[in-house]
Symmetry: C2
Subunit: 147 residues, 2 copies
Amino acid sequence: MRRGVELLFFGYTRLTRAIDDGLAEHGLGRAHHRALYFIARQPDLTISELLKILAITKQSLGRVLTDLAEKALVETRTGVVDRRQKLLRLTAEGVRFEAQLFDALRTSLASAYAAAGQESVTGFWRVLEGLIPAEDKAMVIALQKDI
Amino acid sequence: MRRGVELLFFGYTRLTRAIDDGLAEHGLGRAHHRALYFIARQPDLTISELLKILAITKQSLGRVLTDLAEKALVETRTGVVDRRQKLLRLTAEGVRFEAQLFDALRTSLASAYAAAGQESVTGFWRVLEGLIPAEDKAMVIALQKDI
DNA sequence: AAGATGGGGCAGCCATATTGACGTATCTAA
DNA sequence: TTAGATACGTCAATATGGCTGCCCCATCTT
């Protein structure tokens, strides 16, 4: 039990630290990366969808998106079906930058996967899925529709 | 790949949120919990050992420990082999409080473990171990000597 | 006796989150 | 067509948890 808690702590913190330098070069923080990441994952995401994913307040997200827009990494378009919505997308530069950050994560994770073996990876996923509260599960599964 | 990153994100954030309410009741935050947790895990831990585990600065930890001492959850004793060291320990109340918080974590993790099965749990551990940088591994293994 | 180490502390800064309230544009349904 | 709900933006104020740089003391080691 305790082992799971602390491995999760170390694994998560050490993985996220892997990209801090890349972010700092652009004057950005982890909050920006999380937004970038999920916008990359689901282009044309709306603000409210992103809010649900990140589970932070509108104000907190607002600043992050303002920063990203100012640095021309993210752009918004008015929703087509609902003109109140804003659809979020990465710019070409945003795509490039996110890919660069993701690459650092991918490298770390790939070596952990390789060391553990495919069977372990499946187990890793299963346990983590079980940690997601029922009310968030639909959202996470929706993300994975186009892996 | 992306699946691993986001499951880790959701799993970690949702698990940690499970104890926010319990902490808030005592006017504490997650930083306090991390310190409490590792002191519970290894009584008579020194400050410098805890710093290595948490990978934060002395000042950041200092504030956290001051808060915990003021609330009489943690106490320190002078080191026996080296009188410069301070050995950290939970008070009786600290033990009680940490156990209560841990219980919330345990409940979440136990249900994820049960849903995933023992084999998956082993895989979960293996992958997470692989995410820990080599220079931190010895420290993490040391924690587990007395599971 | 000199230097290294463990720990404490000050001042100031930054990033990221919070709440609550209010405003505007747009959609939906009576 | 109008009333209410929704999507988004934004204000101000506040809290938390990090950081750096610098200096201090006590204690251990050589």
